[in-house]
């Protein structure tokens, strides 16, 4: 029992923190906020998936990906393609030149559904592709880069370039992707109208529960030997290699895992907000997602969620009322977090509430796990 507690919740303290987050997301927000605001929270929670992925990848693994937006976007696009095909039945599109295909294809003189849209007629296949397409792309990038020992700033720049390529490609291939507007006017999921109030509530709860699930799974990853090796690789990569570990395969795995989590967030975004566009794929969204994790605390899975919620709340507030101030604030946030609060909110929390070690709980859980077992075994010997 304690093993499960330590491994999946990051120890007692971690479990308490996770429970607080779960209550906040699943009870307090739905009771307190109206549907419009809850929808906003739901949107922020989808970004939190990416922030969590960056805690694993960047905070623990030392691998800074400036292309997480593309995985978020790919997950979202896969889901959007399915919903779009469902919304484009011949009856509701009968005014088009070619009924039965998505409207933007019709506008671009395309007369039949292209081959790579075909699998998205099936929901099970769509779910598979939501997870598989981003993971596969991450695998290719990771394999090529990590096998050749590319890391650090090189990796960051190249992932950024790939995110740029993908966003230009999506904007440029209007007929196949919906172009700069993205894929819009999504209506139903397997006949279930996702625009109704009840659907919005249901999707919000699925989304928040998935996030909690992802955090639990990620806690497990970090508390296993894998997690310890991840930290070891971040700090002493050569030593790990000369202890007989194939460093690249560990990095590929965590990059793929991070891509998959981000994609889940993207797919949930599409379902909740009802569209997906290239504005979530390119350089700017990708790097903004890094700041969510940085503000929350790059080592803290739960901190990253709060980071995503807070930064986006600020963004919504400011960019509506004082759009000019917002860019200053955002820029200042990047600088301040890096210069003065490298451990983010979680670090501030830890420093000001010594009994509530939010940021330290990861490291503490390793130590606890090892010490406990060591003592246990010690008793037997």
């Amino acid at each position: 029992m304690t093993v499960i507690l330590d491994k999946c919740f990051g120890g007692k303290q971690g479990a308490v923190n996770l429970a607080i987050l779960a209550i906040l997301l699943l009870v307090i927000f739905p009771l307190w906020l109206d549907l419009f605001r809850l929808g906003l929270i739901g949107k922020y929670v989808t970004y939190a998936f990416v922030a969590v992925s960056l805690v694993l990848l960047w905070g623990n693994g030392g691998i800074l990906s400036l292309g997480q937006g593309m995985f978020f976007g790919l997950g979202g696009y896969c889901m959007a393609m399915f919903l779009k095909l469902e919304a484009s039945d011949p009856i509701s599109t009968k005014i088009q030149t070619t009924p039965g295909i998505p409207d933007f294809m019709d506008w671009n003189q395309i007369t039949e559904i292209p081959w790579f849209w075909q699998p998205f007629k099936s929901f099970p296949l769509t779910v598979f592709f939501v997870l598989a397409v981003p993971t596969f792309l991450a695998f290719i990038i990771g394999y090529a880069m990590f096998k050749r020992r590319v890391g650090g700033v090189y990796f960051a720049i190249i992932t950024q370039a790939i995110a740029l390529i993908l966003s230009i490609l999506i904007v440029g291939q209007q007929g196949y992707t919906g172009g700069v507007n993205g894929i819009t006017d999504l209506k139903t999921l397997l006949g279930w109208d996702i625009r109704t109030d009840s659907a919005k509530y249901v999707l919000y709860f699925i989304n928040a529960s998935l996030l909690i699930g992802v955090i639990i799974l990620s806690n497990y990853v970090l508390s296993s030997k894998f997690g310890m090796l991840l930290l070891a690789m971040r700090d002493k990569e050569e030593r790990v290699r000369f202890s007989g570990y194939d460093v690249s395969s560990f990095k590929i795995f965590i990059f793929c895992y991070a891509a998959m989590i981000s994609a889940i967030g993207g797919a949930m975004f599409t379902l909740q907000i009802g569209f997906m566009s290239p504005s979530f794929v390119g350089i700017v969204p990708s790097i903004e997602m890094v700041i969510f994790a940085a503000v929350g605390g790059r080592m803290s899975l739960i901190g990253a969620v709060y980071g995503a919620l807070l930064v986006n709340f600020g963004k919504t507030m400011f960019s509506e009322n004082f759009p000019e101030l917002w860019l200053f604030l955002m820029g200042g946030l990047f600088i301040a977090v890096v210069m003065f609060f490298p451990d983010g909110l979680a670090g501030v929390y830890r420093d000001h509430a010594k009994n509530f070690n939010l940021a330290d709980w990861l490291i503490a859980s390793y130590t606890k796990w090892f010490k406990k077992d060591a003592n246990m075994l010690g008793d037997k010997v």
Partner: protein
């Protein structure tokens, strides 16, 4: 090249960097359970030879056979898994982990991604950690964060981490650099003990220390072997005195 009884057989090994030959058709053989020390002036290619064996640097020509398996085409972790352990010049340990965890990470179980995710601690592991900790004189410090160890203890911890892998060939790059006289003696004792069931290759400058441990000494100069043999024989060699020991 035919199979041999040597644990390590290096033949015609050459590596050049933009035309400069750091190691020049070097041949060297190490026996089972032998403790070999490589000495030589700075830039003689000692560390490069070590890098070549452990796979960090790729050779231009020649062969390195470990237990008759060709090593030059393998990657670093494959070489480690074949049974070659390598210590870095400055102690390379995980400063934020405890001594116990440092040793545990080096335990050769759960080395794949999946293996590490499903890795469970076993009584054998704990036993092994304690045994090795005793060998490298760190039993009392098992729960100490590694960053708090003295420089000499860090060197021992790294040797301990290598012993966790139970390698058949252990390579050490200047293991006593920065150690006190007492620590040097203890390290010499440790190495003499270690090589009872494995081969050890040491790069070292401290001649007093070399005398205490070496079974055989190889002197490198400009990427080539200048002399090889027992310590007395090498020390008497005029060429060696001229390029190295003389000053």
């Amino acid at each position: 090249m035919s199979n041999t009884d040597f644990i390590l057989a290096i033949e015609d090994l050459t590596v050049s960097f933009d035309g400069f030959k750091a190691v020049d058709s070097l041949s060297m053989y190490i026996d089972k359970n032998e403790l070999r020390v490589v000495i030589g002036p700075n830039g003689a290619g000692k560390t490069t030879v070590l890098y070549l064996i452990c796979g960090k640097t790729k050779s231009t020509e020649g062969s390195i056979k470990f237990k008759n398996i060709e090593m030059t085409t393998l990657s670093e972790h494959e070489i480690v898994r074949a049974g070659v352990g390598r210590k870095f010049q400055t102690p390379s340990i995980y400063e934020n982990l405890t001594v116990y965890q440092n040793l545990e990470v080096s335990y050769p179980v759960g080395r794949s991604v999946w293996g590490s995710l499903t890795f469970k601690r076993t009584p054998e592991l704990s036993e092994q950690v304690r045994k090795i900790a005793a060998e490298v004189l760190l039993t009392e410090h098992l729960d100490l964060e590694a960053a708090l160890l003295s420089h000499g203890q860090k060197q021992w911890l790294e040797i301990g981490m290598l012993l966790m892998q139970d390698p058949e060939l252990l390579m050490l790059d200047e293991p006593v650099a920065g150690m006190s006289a007492k620590e040097r003696d203890q390290t010499a004792e440790l190495l003499n003990q270690i090589c009872q069931n494995r081969s050890v290759l040491v790069i070292e400058h401290d001649m007093e220390f070399v005398k205490k441990i070496a079974h055989k000494v190889t002197v490198l100069h400009q990427g080539k072997i200048l002399a090889e043999g027992s310590m007395e024989k090498v020390q008497a060699n005029e060429k060696v005195i001229e390029v190295y020991l003389g000053h």
